[in-house]
Symmetry: C2
Subunit: 399 residues, 2 copies
């Protein structure tokens, strides 16, 4: 994808080096819609929410947004009243530079918890960004939001809605403190679809549940997680509505697909990760139990270090299932690595199976499929392996 | 402590190299009471229980035991009907060698999940161990049960009960797959106290809740966790009973104290651990919420890697509290490292506090005290840091 592809009509963007992260790093981004757009947002489930999250949640209720201001380096989390004041002030500065209402500015921060924003950086950076806005500037913003990310995460889709092309462009950041129910991750998705804020919110929530909330790197949930979706209505299709389910489904499918691509990019780029592993639980008594079982396996340090060691260690998988809270008969469990059954009816399948399974584990991406044979519940969670580099990164990085 | 101290009247023990773990490692142990003893047991909460756990649970109900047979190398977990048959058969072999009833033999296994026991090793090893039993043989058994443990874990206590000395000697193993609700850990405690099995069980359960079930290394719970307590009644005090609370309290205090010493040994020897950290949560709305909050912090990879990096990263602690499920006001939280307050009323206390806190983190043992100011609930969980060596050990070791 080149820069000219990573854009949506009616949206412009820019990023600048504002000084938050030193002289030489892009750290402040601005995304602006030519006109007020329908907005939907999904936020961290943590009780401890960063100031920008609290502000955005309140503003999302208005249903409209025209700009997203984002900085990396400082999370503006655990910053008290002063943090709220600064979050509000920076959006006012952006509103001023763009000549729009403050209420139409969403703000996101990612980085170190507990530090206050330095206002001078925003005073310098915001006007500069506002003057540099351009249609192909989104790519720059995607780079500005990277923290421990090693790759930039962007994706585009085009949905055909009533025969008309609808464009979606998304970006995300995130590599650690990543656990379902929103990770230390930000994602911004822009579309020219015509759609009401209520309907947009419903679609986003559903897409996020199956994508961003079905990944884990380290089981930790952050204070700043945010997915924002802006729809400026510049595409030519008739407005999306519940009454026209086919058109809606076409848009929803493209949205979920885009979210999944971004979510998997986050797992692949998980701190220290060398492998992307899909943990698929079938045959649980309910979807909720499938979810618990899949998360127990996907978050087990012992399972994840075994993936790193390319060791088809099904004992650790069974141990994780046993403590997950899901109810099943040990003597009915099947476990397969891609197509290779390592366990049938609770028993290991011997040296030949192990040899084949070990070959699967050498791949960069594979699936572990667990059938509990206790019901119809299913769930997929995407995780990564747990390497020496995870510890190196997190023993050094102040997040 | 020298070997002559690590014994209790009326108990003999021995360990041998049976071949389960190659030629040169102690891997099979036998502990025998001269007469049937009251027995109490606490076992893994995992739904997936190893064959020996199932067998011991059933036999514990009889209230009496005279011998413990234990092997390392193979866990006899996820081994189906055949695993149950072999567990039963090995206890019959021990009963035969000791000329006691099979029902009086408890059996424990620790090691690789999913492999069957090799009967030949037990046929060779059990008679040899039975012939070598001696009063100072417990130390040998403590060595035979080590797996990824780097140190042998033994402790003794003497309680004064009605003016008479009551002796307790305990051993434990465990370093990984360690999480409250029993870890991949075995512990055997022997005493000459006079006490009924029912009362013994009640005391053990209470002691374990505050000690072995309040530690974590990696948040994983194993299939084989077992604590067995045998009381052979050879001490000279009048039998312990609810009606004599002072005598009971003296014994219970010694038991809990012994269990705590062994439990902390397990955390200090946590796979790759370089630090022992006590996470103390106060002021939660309930003890249950204090427990959730303390465990969320104590199990967070991000918090534990920060401990390894000696980084007073309170942001990660707050993030873990936020997702823990405990309810509190972010603006009231205090966090201290030993006596140094890093956070007061939800706000960081600046560079000077951080400098002092960093000095605390350089210590091998310290406490993190969190006050949520939301109620009266309290809980302490003992954890370790998360180092490069944890990953090295677990990417290589098949457990």
């Amino acid at each position: 994808m080149n820069d000219s592809e990573f854009q949506v009509q009616g949206f412009r963007a820019a990023a600048v080096k504002s000084g938050i992260r030193g002289k030489d790093r892009l750290d402040l981004g601005l995304i602006v819609s030519d006109r007020p757009a329908a907005v939907a947002g999904v936020f961290t489930t943590s009780l401890v929410k960063a100031a920008p999250v609290l502000l955005d949640q309140a503003r999302c209720k208005g249903g409209r947004a025209q700009a997203i201001l984002v900085n990396s380096g400082i999370a503006n989390a655990c910053t008290g009243e002063e943090g709220m004041r600064l979050a509000r002030l920076t959006t006012a500065m952006a509103a001023d530079a763009l000549n729009i209402s403050e209420e139409l500015v969403q703000v996101c921060s990612t980085g170190i918890i507990g530090q206050q924003l330095e206002l001078a950086c925003f005073q310098r950076g915001i006007p500069k960004a506002a003057q540099s806005l351009r249609a192909d500037g989104l790519d720059e913003v995607a780079r500005a939001i990277m923290t421990t990310d090693t790759v930039k995460k962007t994706a585009v889709r085009t949905a055909l809605v009533d025969g008309k092309p609808v464009r979606l462009a998304g970006m995300a950041k995130g590599a650690g403190m990543i656990m379902p129910n929103m990770a230390t991750m930000l994602a911004f998705i822009l579309t020219d679809a015509k759609i009401s804020p209520d309907l947009l919110q419903r679609l986003l929530k559903k897409s996020v549940a199956a994508t961003f909330n079905a990944i884990t790197v380290d089981g930790d949930t952050s204070t700043n997680d945010t997915v924002l979706l802006l729809a400026n209505g510049m595409a030519e299709h008739p407005p999306l509505a519940e009454e026209r389910p086919e058109a809606l489904a076409a848009f929803a499918a493209a949205l979920t697909d885009l979210c999944r691509e971004l979510a998997l990019m986050i797992v692949r780029d998980g701190e220290g990760a060398t492998k992307l592993v899909t943990v698929r639980v079938r045959g649980a008594r309910s979807e909720a139990e499938a979810d618990r079982a899949a998360r127990a396996v996907a978050n087990s340090n012992l399972v994840k270090t075994a993936f790193f060691g390319e060791d088809a260690n099904w004992g650790r998988i069974i141990a994780a299932l046993g403590r997950s809270g899901a109810i099943f008969e040990q003597s009915r469990v099947d476990i397969a690595f891609d197509g290779v059954f390592m366990v049938r009816s609770g028993l290991g399948q011997g040296a030949e199976a192990e040899k084949e399974a070990t070959a699967v584990l050498r791949k960069r991406e594979f699936a572990v499929t667990i059938d509990l044979h206790a019901g119809e519940g299913e769930k997929e969670i995407h995780t990564c392996d747990f390497s020496l580099d995870y510890v190196k990164i997190n023993a050094d990085y102040r997040s």
